[in-house]
Amino acid sequence: GESVGLHLPTLSVQEGDNSIINCAYSNSASDYFIWYKQESGKGPQFIIDIRSNMDKRQGQRVTVLLNKTVKHLSLQIAATQPGDSAVYFCADINQAGTALIFGKGTTLSVSS
């Protein structure tokens, strides 16, 4: 069935380091993927998305890489800052195309 998951539930990094958060998906027909950031007590916030006809997309300090061969995507955060501490979710579109399917999330902790 459909599932989107993240490899690690938690990730701890030092301020200034680069962070890599990984995600695996099972639906080979998925053509759209999105990363969300959720800070404590708030709703998820869009970070970046990527379509299946791309293997890389860059935003401000963030890069998403998509490997369709192994059904894996990653979110890279450059020069991680304390404000990046949050839970990060990957998501893809369900088979009906009606809504997003979310993974369980990775908690990123950034220490100074």
């Binding site: 759209y32 999105i34 007590g41 708030k42 709703g43 998820p44 916030q45 869009f46 998305d49 979710f89 579109i93 369900n94 009606t98 809504a99 997003l100 399917i101 979310f102 993974g103 369980k104 999330g105």
Partner: protein
């Protein structure tokens, strides 16, 4: 109003009571969604609506109902609350006509059913 608002922010409810969670967006998005978020389970879709007047079931629809009388509002009703419905509920919207799938989320409603 800017974006999506939800009400109430939090609520403690006795089991068996009826409760409606409110959601309003001012972005004129055609699609709206309700998710519940539970520790260790991520966000799970309850119901959705692709346009005013239509609704559909998500992954966990049992015990919940929705209506979409207009573009802006998408209330979620628990007809007879049970403790397993204790969760944080998020409403979201998106403009699917533009081809995008980015969903914008509200701040959430924390519901406790005793």
């Amino acid at each position: 109003i800017a974006g999506i608002t939800q009400a109430p922010t939090s609520q403690i409810l006795a089991a068996g009571r009826r409760m409606t969670l409110r959601c309003t967006q001012d972005m004129r998005h055609n699609a709206m969604y309700w998710y519940r978020q539970d520790l260790g389970l991520g966000l799970r879709l309850i119901h959705y609506s692709n346009t005013a007047g239509t609704t559909g079931k998500g992954e966990v629809p049992d015990g919940y109902s929705v209506s979409r009388a207009n573009t802006d509002d998408f209330p979620l009703t628990l007809a007879s609350a049970v403790p397993s419905q204790t969760s944080v509920y998020f409403c979201a919207s998106s403009d699917i006509t533009s081809g995008g799938n980015e969903q914008f989320f509200g701040p959430g409603t924390r519901l406790t059913v005793l």
